[in-house]
Structures are given as structure tokens and as C-alpha cells.
Amino acid sequence: MRNINFGYGISRPRAIDIDNNDLRKSNAIIAEMPELQACIGCGSCTASCTAGNLTEFNFRRLHTAVRRGEYKGAYEDINKCMLCGKCRLVCPRGINTRALIMLIKRKLGDF
């Protein structure tokens, strides 16, 4: 069983204290793209991801972390994305994921 690649894995359990996180950027992202709140966390974006197939890049984990105000390493991580747009096609909630990626990059990066 261990060697079968399902395209996803199980994250290690950890505690997140949202009260300690700075949510300003996260709130700004959600204010600009409220549709992100429609995400049901199904992980289709990650399962279909071209970059995720080649690296450890996990878009569902990334945008969930960013929404919680955990920005560490997110900018470097999101730059693995090739913007191919498959995630937008498979998203069952019709979220404009490419625009979301560009928005996160703009808010977290230096430009």
C-alpha cells in the first residue's frame, strides 16, 4: 500500500492558532476574490496540477494556509506553479484559480 501514489498524502497533525496570525493579507485576498470562500477543499486542483505532479507543490494546502495567515514559504512555493490552468477547469466550485494564484503572488510577493 505504501508505494501506491494516490496523488495526495496525509499531512502531519499540527495546531494552528489563528489569533496569533496576521490576517491582513489574507483578508485582502479574500476581499478581492470572495469566491475563494466557496472552496470545499476537495483537492481537485492539487490532483490535476502539472507542477504538483513534478514537485511537492500542493495548491490546496497553499491557499488554505494563506487564508489562515500562514504565509511562510508560500510565495516561494506558489512560484512553482506554471499557470497552465488545469485546476480552473476541474474546480467543482468554478473558482478562478489562475486569477487567485496571480493575486496571491501579488499580495505576498514584492511586486
Binding site: 502539472t50 513534478l54 516561494e76 512560484n79 512553482k80
Partner: protein, 598 residues
């Protein structure tokens, strides 16, 4: 002979200002051209390209042949204004020569010749020229009348919508509208007081002389020439800053184009010629599906170019475009609208991040051996039937195939380019080029028109022939390597934007389908085909808007009464599938189902 009167001052000031402003613009833009472009100009200046450009200037800047082809009434309006006015100037010049012989006459002397005739004591008339000038004035006035009509109701001119203008345009537009009526009045008053033989100004003058008291005519005589001269002056001053700059900017643009200059992914001063050559005619508004289906009214190419020209472009306008190329196909000036929009995006978004895509180093997930490479493309992995059908076809013809991305490949880079990140895309271009070279392929087949376009336009793949799978299958069938059974189905083919308008491939897919069944054409097809709405180029419209575009377009395909909708782009396929009631297949599926096994 005197050729000066106080009323000519507005005209003289306007003219001097116009020439100074335009000359400054052109010189600055030319000086700032990149070195490569300057070399191209030097190289092509004294060749037949220049002659071809002169001919095109006559056809396009004066006669407006391309507008005629899109919309004959609109073409007549533009030609009557442009060519009519041009002839008024030229014939006016000859007229003064006819009266005075070859002597130097200042510019205002030519333009206001009718005014200067009586003060210089010229009382005889040259009826031929007077009739000719009146006829030309009538032609221009017809154009002006049509322009008024277009403003009042654009549908009279066969346009659903016309452009909304900014203040400078409105000033220039109003001045232009009244220049020729003012000229008619001024020349008629002159004819009423001093006589004239033209059928228009002469007759109107006689009628005025009979009905209006003489001292009233004298009272209005000077002011009427003041109005005409002032309107010309206002128009000339507003011209370099308004849409009417296109009259002058189009001429150098045509020459530069013939000297092989073109816009690139990076902005350069050449773009200014293209941007200012836009006349804001608004022909690009009607083909835009964002306008017709979604009611988005401020992003069309005409508004994009306007915003860019006056430095008020925002990201939302730059990004809200499907880049389907429907407007570019219709643009009478032939502006490279998509390239300009792309390099606007690049200016705003292209900040390369050094550590980006380090993971590409040493990556190779390809499989198989063969001279033919198959690059399915990212999107095709979401339409596995296409990939499977291609494998069946390869097997049926016994082709040895190297699969570039069956187990996960690297994106072609075009999606990044479409969002303006050209520098980041270069890493992908380099990676894939290296991969193709390393596996020594001679033919590269791809199922995705988006990849196809970037392979052809941005990759340096000398020695490797790049084919779309529809072209590849077409070749297999015509060469007799693959035989297919005909069935009784009716197929409608949807032209993907990137394949059709992007790469000019219209016939190969149709030949392939015709080998299997009957091809029925939808209302909009080939160069005029609609976009499915799922284009990667647009990151602004949301899912429901994409769906609406897809539904309208699919409804048109289904209206042909076909059994199956065929397309050759995985992205279009996904979009049509969401909305279609009949079956939807990729061209490779249609073929794979009908392979005749020998």
C-alpha cells in the same frame, strides 16, 4: 498679390502647431526604436518594399479599402472624408495654379483661395475647377452627413455599437463635423457677393443674393470665413492628441510594416505608431463576445488602445480579454491587437523571480523511442480520450513515438506568456527545447493548439517539424498510411481560436472529418469562428460568464442540426462539453473510432 487676412491667423497657428507636434512625435519614436529595428529600416529602405508601402498608403490611408470589405457604408464614409478632403487640397492647389500660373502662393492662399480671389481683383472664373471643387465638397459633405447619422444611430451604418469618446476626441470631432458645412456657407456667401459658377456654392450664392438683403450678406461675410478658419485651427490643434492622429500615424506605420518591423513581447517605441494609428472606428466592438454576450463595455481593443495611449490603462482592462483574435481579424488598420495587449500585461507583471522553476533541472519523464514526438499538452491530460485515440492512431500506422509528457510533462510556457510573465516562460521554452533536442525527434505532434502556437512562434525548433494532430492525421490519410471508414454522421467542426486565427489551420481538420462523414458549417466559422470562452488569456471573467459564452457558442454549433460536434482543442472541448446536448468529440476520437484495420 496679398494673401493675408486677419481671419487666417487661427488656421496658420493650428497648422504650425500640428506640424511641430507630429514631427516631434515621429522623430522621438523613430529615434527610440531598438537597434535591430533601425537596421531593418536601413536594410529595406531602398527596396521594392517601399514602393509596395506607397501603394498601400493610397489604398488604406486614402481609399480605405479594408473598411469597405468589412462594411461598405462605413467604407464610403471614411473614403469620402479622407480621399475627398485629400482631393480638395490637391485640386485646390491646381486651381490656384490655373488662375495665377506657376507662382508661389502661401498655404493660406491655397486654402482660402475663394476669399482672396476678389481682393486680388480676379473676377474671371474657371468653371471646370469651380464645378470640380463643388463636386468634391459635396462628396465630403456626404461623408459628414453619414458620420452624423452614425453618431445618432449606429445601426444605420450596420454597426451595433459605436465608440464612446473622450473630451479631446469630442472637440476634434465637433470641429471636423462643422468644417465643411462652414466652408460651404463661407464660399456660398462669397459667391452671393462676388459671383461664382459652381453648381453647389454658386447656386446657393445666387439664391442667397436674391432672398437675403445685401447688407446682411456683407455683415456675415467676414465672420463666416473666421468660423471656417477657426474650426480648421481647432481641429489641427486637437488632432495630435485625439483619435484623428491616426490620419498621420497610419502612414509611417504602413512603411515600417513593409520594412518588416513588428511589435514584440517587449514594449518598444514602434508600438506607439500602432497605438496612435487606431482611429477608434469601433469596428472591433461588435465582434467582441465579451460585449455581445456579457455586456462588458470598457475592455474592447478600441478602449484598451485608448487607455494605453493616455496612460490610464489598468490591469483589469488589460487582463479582461479572451485574445480570441476576432477583433484583430476585423481591424481595418491591421493593428496587432493581441501582441500589444500582451506586452501591456508583461510590463505590469513580468518580475522574474530567480529561484523559479529550479525543479525543472534534470527532469525527464518522457517514454518511448522514435523520431516522432508526441506532446499531448497539459490540457489534453484532462481529455484522456484524445490521448488514447492518438495512441491508437500511432499504433494503427505503426509509428514509433516518443511520448514527451505521458507521465507528466512541463507546460509549454504559453499560459505564462498570456498572463504577461514572459521571462518566467522562457525557462519552460528552454527546458522543452532541450528535451526535444535530446531525444532527436524530427517531427513534433501536439494535441493542444495553445502549445502548437508557442512551439511555432517562440521556440527555436529548426529541423523539427511541428504539427497539430489534425494536420498529422490529415497527412496520414492523404499519404494513404491510414484508412478510415466513412459513416453516416453529420459533424460540425468548431475552429479553436489558437488553431484557426492563431495558426491559420482551417482546412486540415475539415479534410479529416470529410474523410469520415459530412461536415456542416455553423453560422460563424473559420476566421469568423466564435470563442468558447474558456481562453487562458482571460483571468477576469468568472465561471458563470465563461459558461454563458460557451453556451451561446455551443447553441450555434447545435443549430446546424449535427449529430456530433468536433473540435481539436482540449480546452474548447471542455467548454463545449459543459453546454452541449449532442455528443462532443475530439478530431482524433472521430478518426480512431473509424480506423479500418487491414
Amino acid at each position: 498679390m496679398t494673401f493675408f487676412a486677419p481671419f487666417t491667423i487661427p488656421f496658420i497657428i493650428g497648422t504650425i502647431f500640428l506640424f511641430a507636434a507630429v514631427a516631434t512625435k515621429f522623430v522621438l519614436w523613430l529615434v527610440r526604436l531598438p537597434r535591430v529595428d533601425k537596421r531593418l529600416i536601413r536594410h529595406n529602405l531602398f527596396t521594392w518594399h517601399t514602393l509596395a508601402a506607397v501603394w498601400e498608403v493610397v489604398r488604406e490611408s486614402l481609399l480605405h479599402v479594408r473598411i469597405f470589405k468589412v462594411n461598405p457604408v462605413l467604407g464610403f464614409m471614411h473614403a469620402s472624408l479622407a480621399f475627398g478632403w485629400f482631393l480638395l487640397i490637391v485640386v485646390g492647389w491646381i486651381e490656384t495654379v490655373a488662375y495665377l500660373g506657376a507662382q508661389w502662393v502661401p498655404l493660406q492662399g491655397h486654402v482660402f483661395f475663394k476669399y482672396f480671389m476678389p481682393i486680388n481683383g480676379i473676377t474671371h472664373h474657371e468653371p471646370l475647377f469651380e464645378q470640380l471643387m463643388d463636386a468634391l465638397l459635396l462628396v465630403v459633405l456626404t461623408g459628414v452627413a453619414l458620420a452624423w447619422m452614425k453618431r445618432l444611430r449606429s445601426r444605420f451604418m450596420g454597426m451595433r455599437r459605436t465608440t464612446k469618446h473622450i473630451l479631446f476626441d469630442r472637440v476634434a470631432l465637433s470641429a471636423l463635423w462643422f468644417i465643411f458645412p462652414a466652408r460651404l456657407i463661407a464660399e456660398s456667401l462669397t459667391a452671393a457677393l462676388y459671383g461664382g459658377e459652381g453648381f453647389l456654392t454658386g447656386s446657393l450664392g445666387h439664391a442667397l443674393a436674391e432672398t437675403v438683403p445685401h447688407d446682411l450678406l456683407v455683415m456675415f461675410y467676414e465672420p463666416s470665413w473666421w468660423v471656417y478658419s477657426s474650426l480648421l485651427g481647432i481641429f489641427f490643434v486637437a488632432m495630435p492628441f485625439s483619435r484623428y492622429m491616426h490620419i498621420l500615424a497610419e502612414i509611417p506605420l504602413i512603411f515600417l510594416r513593409h520594412w518588416k518591423l513588428h511589435p514584440t513581447a517587449e514594449r518598444k517605441s514602434y508600438d506607439r505608431f500602432e497605438v496612435e494609428a487606431c482611429s477608434r472606428c469601433g469596428i472591433c466592438i461588435d465582434p467582441c463576445q465579451l460585449q455581445s454576450e456579457l455586456g462588458i463595455n470598457d475592455v474592447q481593443s478600441v478602449y484598451f488602445l485608448r487607455d494605453r495611449r493616455y496612460n490610464m490603462l489598468n490591469l483589469k482592462v488589460a487582463n479582461n480579454c479572451l485574445m480570441c483574435g476576432r477583433c484583430e481579424a476585423k481591424c481595418p488598420v491591421g493593428i496587432n491587437l493581441n501582441t500589444l495587449r500582451l506586452n501591456s500585461r508583461a510590463k505590469r507583471r513580468n518580475i522574474p523571480y530567480e529561484g523559479r522553476y529550479k525543479y525543472l533541472r534534470g527532469l525527464d519523464r518522457s517514454s518511448g523511442e522514435g523520431r516522432v514526438g508526441y506532446f499531448a499538452g497539459c490540457m489534453t491530460s484532462l481529455t484522456p480520450a484524445t490521448q488514447h485515440s492518438m495512441e491508437q492512431i500511432f499504433k494503427a500506422v505503426g509509428e514509433d513515438v516518443w511520448f514527451a509528457d505521458r507521465d507528466g510533462g512541463v507546460c509549454c510556457g504559453r499560459p505564462l506568456m498570456l498572463t504577461g510573465e514572459t521571462d518566467a516562460a522562457r525557462k519552460m521554452v528552454a527546458y522543452n527545447t532541450d528535451l526535444f533536442r535530446r531525444h532527436n525527434i524530427t517531427t513534433l505532434v501536439t494535441s493542444c493548439p495553445i502549445c502548437l502556437r508557442v512551439f511555432r512562434e517562440h521556440y527555436r525548433l529548426d529541423g523539427i517539424e511541428v504539427l497539430h494532430h489534425s494536420e498529422y492525421i490529415d497527412r496520414l490519410i492523404t499519404e494513404g498510411r491510414l484508412s478510415v471508414a466513412a459513416d453516416a454522421r453529420r459533424y460540425t467542426y468548431h475552429d479553436p481560436c489558437e488553431l484557426g486565427r492563431g495558426c491559420g489551420i482551417y482546412d486540415a481538420p475539415r479534410r479529416v472529418i470529410a474523410a469520415v462523414g459530412e461536415v456542416v458549417e455553423p453560422k460563424h466559422s473559420r476566421r469568423d469562428a466564435l470563442c468558447c470562452g474558456s481562453s487562458l488569456a482571460n483571468t477576469v471573467i468568472d465561471d458563470s460568464q465563461q459558461l454563458r459564452l460557451g453556451e451561446r457558442m455551443t447553441a450555434e454549433l447545435e443549430a446546424t442540426g449535427c449529430d456530433t460536434i468536433v473540435t481539436s482543442c482540449p480546452l474548447c472541448m471542455k467548454a463545449i462539453n459543459r453546454a452541449a446536448r449532442c455528443s462532443v468529440e475530439d478530431i482524433s476520437e472521430v478518426v480512431a473510432k473509424n480506423i479500418l484495420r487491414s
